[in-house]
């Protein structure tokens, strides 16, 4: 079992058998909706049919009288959180907004806003009870468009929003929650220097994360105040923290177990059902199960922001970009919190531009509160910037990839948000794209090729894990990070690498919130990086302990014992002649050498190492139907070090496919009545396998110096370039510059019509 000779590691970089694979393909994996408890009730919610209305009254008396109904809750059953107490703790959410989002108080703010919840003995009784709840509404004017919401005469969602960051506090409230700005250099001097300037406006629609598994929870509140929750979430510690804050419960009195998760993509980084199920369970004295329908998922959860974008880029004749501005208006949904900061910060970070100015607005509209979606905000700004770059390349008569090469950010490049970049691999992705056979392949009529790049920060944060040596010398890793992208495989590989043993002798499980220290939720592409470091460090602690046990057995100094190829060996001839002790040997003797061997590590992972990607997309445009077909797609990405290349490729392919959906078909469609018209997968079109070619993932490895194996997060940046890559390919194919997502057949046909 020597090092494989490829990269110097025994296991790092190998495509080991997926530990979650068999359970998932056989249906044995337990997702959120699979869990059940004896005596369990069924919970359902009442949702508003109006996008904006004052709640005059809610009468639950008829529903309460219905046979089988055990509990009903409204906002009155939740602690009212004052503005002064809206935030507490470190990196807090706004608990007041969160509370009002999961249960409307005073007003409903979007179609699908929850007003009440029922727990009953079965689904039929719960649904019947929901129908008996009488709500009197005073209907208010609504606004679902981001630009319309900024107008002075727009219907006002909240009377306490006074634009933050806009200099002196405005005298009047508005729907603009926040204005942010980032400046670098002298923007006017920069544009004055430019020979060529491109200026263009773009729009993107709100879209959903479209995870296949709907939200699901079982909550059980005991008479002693102890609460147990089983749910599908990206962070069970986050569920514990938010439920405690929203319901006024001690964190120690809540225990949360993470179910296997069927996708999240950022959409499961908050709570919707969990606090409601707990409130119902406390009132009913029985466990309560709640599962959303797909309609509810669309109307009540996610989505990501729709946006209005304007971009201006100026360059010298030789292709050197000298100035760039962007203005981004992102819809936050019914409560503030669009990903406006990262949208602005990522906009031009891939390029070394001396003069940059970016302004962003966080705008509330009568839609569901937005939630994170893969690289939150970055795909939106990248769509505008990377499309404008393509146009600039044409004006300059420079190959689009060459324009990016000429201006590529590298280590030491100053960003518009302040710092210089560390060790990054953007240029390496451009080089790999140029050298790829796809880039050199030929195209037919109505076919075109688009290039686009993208940047995402990646995130570190709090992680904890335990590593234990079992009695037979196998290893169990207990992590607190729900596995949504293959992190169990990565943790196993890294532990096996440190310990020098076969991966089949290592298993990783996700412990509940009482079993392992705090973990920030799985998001920000952070788990293999951050939680992986805890496992590496804990495994290194185990190695030290194993050497000590061997030293004790041989009665020699621990410094005279080395750990090599999964065995304790004397360091040299001077240490004495002893038969090597395997992990299994040492484990079998632990009762005689000091007891069980285990290690735990809790860290704040810093310096996650930024991710860059460059994509090549070929399309064919049907001039008769407006359909855009993806012919070939190659995604090049710097992964730092791919611990399990198969999962890295899966992340890249998944991100690209979601980006293609965002580009071509996905959109929230609202009627004049302010209600969502396509709350289901028949009308909300996501790409399926038959729509797509195999997405070719090319992994570039520029190791992150802050990780023992060089890991960078990989899950988010692949969704950043696709919209512009597709748009640029369409332009290359048929000469249409589409600036309004999605680039669906009706819009492509309309663009042809307007051209003619």
């Amino acid at each position: 079992m020597a090092a494989d000779g490829g990269n110097g590691y025994r296991w790092i970089g190998k495509r080991t058998i997926r530990p979650d694979g068999v359970d998932k393909v056989t249906g044995r994996a337990n997702f959120g909706a699979d869990f059940a408890l004896p005596d369990m009730l069924v919970g359902k919610v009442l949702r508003s049919p109006y996008p904006h209305a004052r709640i005059v009254s809610i009468d639950t008396s008829k529903a309460e009288a219905l046979d089988g109904v055990k509990a009903i809750v409204t906002a009155a059953d939740f602690p009212e959180i004052t503005p002064e107490n809206a935030t507490f703790g470190s990196s807090p959410p706004n608990y007041r907004d969160m509370s009002r989002n999961l249960m409307a108080r005073g007003k409903v703010l979007y179609d699908g806003h929850v007003l009440a919840a029922v727990a009953a003995v079965d689904s039929a009784a719960a649904i019947a009870a929901i129908g008996l709840i009488a709500v009197e509404y005073e209907i208010l004017p609504h606004v679902t468009d981001v630009v319309a919401a900024m107008r002075p005469d727009a219907p006002l969602l909240h009377d306490d929003i006074f634009t933050a960051g806009a200099g002196p506090k405005p005298e009047k409230p508005s729907n603009v929650a926040k204005k942010v700005a980032f400046k670098l250099g002298d923007i006017e001097a920069g544009f004055a220097e430019a020979d060529v300037i491109v200026e263009r406006e773009y729009r993107t629609e709100g879209i959903h994360q479209a995870y296949i598994e709907p939200h699901a929870v079982v909550a059980s509140a005991g008479a002693d105040g102890q609460v147990t929750i089983w749910c599908s979430s990206q962070g069970h510690f986050m569920v514990r923290q938010y439920c405690a804050g929203l319901l006024g419960i001690n964190i120690a009195d809540i225990r949360v177990t993470a179910a296997e998760i069927g996708g999240g993509f950022g959409g499961k980084t908050t709570v919707y059902l969990e606090p409601v199920a707990v409130a119902l369970s406390r009132k009913a004295g029985r466990p309560v199960k709640m599962v959303m329908s797909r309609n509810e998922v669309f109307r009540g959860t996610g989505p990501t922001s729709g946006a209005a974008i304007s971009v201006r880029i100026g360059a010298k004749r030789d292709g050197r970009i000298v100035a760039a501005t962007a203005e981004l208006k992102l819809m936050a949904g019914a409560f503030p919190g669009a990903p406006i900061q990262p949208a602005c910060m990522c906009a031009f970070t891939a390029y070394d531009i001396p003069n940059v100015e970016i302004t962003g607005y966080d705008i509330v509209v009568n839609r569901p509160k937005t939630t994170a979606y893969r690289a939150p905000g970055a795909p939106i700004s990248a769509y505008g910037v990377e499309s404008a770059l393509d146009e600039l390349a044409q004006k300059l008569d420079i190959e689009p990839l060459a324009l990016r090469e000429r201006n590529a950010a590298r280590q030491g490049t100053r960003t518009a948000y302040g710092p210089t970049l560390g060790v990054v691999g953007f240029e390496e992705t451009l080089q790999a794209a140029r050298e790829h056979p796809h880039f050199k392949s030929s195209l037919g009529p109505n076919q075109g090729r688009g290039i686009a790049s993208g940047f995402w920060f990646n995130v570190g944060g709090e992680s904890s894990s335990n590593v234990h040596v079992n009695e037979d010398g196998t290893i169990t890793i207990t992590s607190g990070s729900p596995d949504i992208g293959g992190s169990r495989a990565s943790l196993v590989i890294m532990a096996a690498e440190v310990l020098g043993i076969d991966v089949d002798r290592v298993r990783a499980v996700i412990g509940d919130t009482a079993s392992v220290g705090f973990n920030r939720h799985t998001g920000g592409s952070r788990v293999t990086f951050a939680t992986g470091m805890t496992v590496v460090q804990a495994a290194e602690d185990i190695v030290v302990a194993l050497r000590k046990r061997a030293a004790l057995t041989w009665d020699i100094d621990v410094e005279a014992v080395i750990w090599e190829d999964g065995e304790a060996r004397p360091a040299g001839d001077n240490a004495g002649k002893f038969e090597a002790l395997t992990l299994r040997d040492i484990a079998s003797q632990t009762p005689k050498t000091g007891g069980p061997i285990g290690a735990r590590r809790s860290i704040m992972a810093q310096n996650p190492g930024a991710a860059f990607a460059t994509h090549i997309c070929d399309v064919e445009v049907d001039r008769e139907t407006g359909q855009v077909k993806i012919l070939r797609y190659t995604a090049v990405q710097d992964a730092g070090r791919a611990i399990h290349p198969g999962y890295v490729e899966g992340q890249i392919q998944g991100g690209v496919v979601q980006g293609i959906g965002w580009a071509l078909n996905e959109e929230y469609i609202y009627g004049d009545d302010g209600c969502l018209q396509n709350a289901g997968f028949l009308d909300y079109r996501i790409p399926v396998a038959s729509d797509l070619p195999m997405i070719e993932a090319v992994i570039v490895e520029v190791p992150n110096p802050s990780h023992p194996y060089g890991v960078r997060g990989v899950g988010e940046v692949p969704i950043v370039p696709p919209m512009a890559a597709v748009a640029n390919a369409i332009h290359d194919a048929v000469g249409l510059r589409l600036t309004d997502l999605p680039m669906s057949p009706p819009k492509v046909l309309a663009a042809f019509d307007s051209e003619s």
């Binding site: 200099g167 910060m345 690289a375 302040g418 710092p419 592409s525 810093q606 310096n607 997060g713 988010e716």
Partner: protein, 82 residues
């Protein structure tokens, strides 16, 4: 002396728009304290929802970090991912 760079928004709110400063400090804790003495209210703002890049390396939990005499210390909004 370390060079401190504030974001445009922080500068507008706390330093009359000035974004670059020289500060003599060995740790981030003392640097933030000194900035707060110079611009009252800036210290708490730096401790809320902010990260810091020290010589290009990003730290979310930064108060215990050491800084070199020629370090560049850049405050930026903390990022959460999806």
């Amino acid at each position: 002396m370390a060079t401190v760079i504030l974001s445009t928004d922080l500068a507008r709110a706390h330093t009359d728009g000035e974004t670059n400063f020289e500060v003599e400090a060995a740790t981030m804790r003392s640097l933030v304290r000194m900035l707060n003495e110079r611009f009252p209210g800036l210290g708490p703002a730096l401790g809320e929802g902010m990260a810091v890049a020290i010589d290009g390396q990003i730290y979310h939990d930064f108060f215990l970090e050491e800084i070199g005499p020629d370090s560049e210390v850049c405050f930026l909004p903390a990022i959460e991912g999806g």
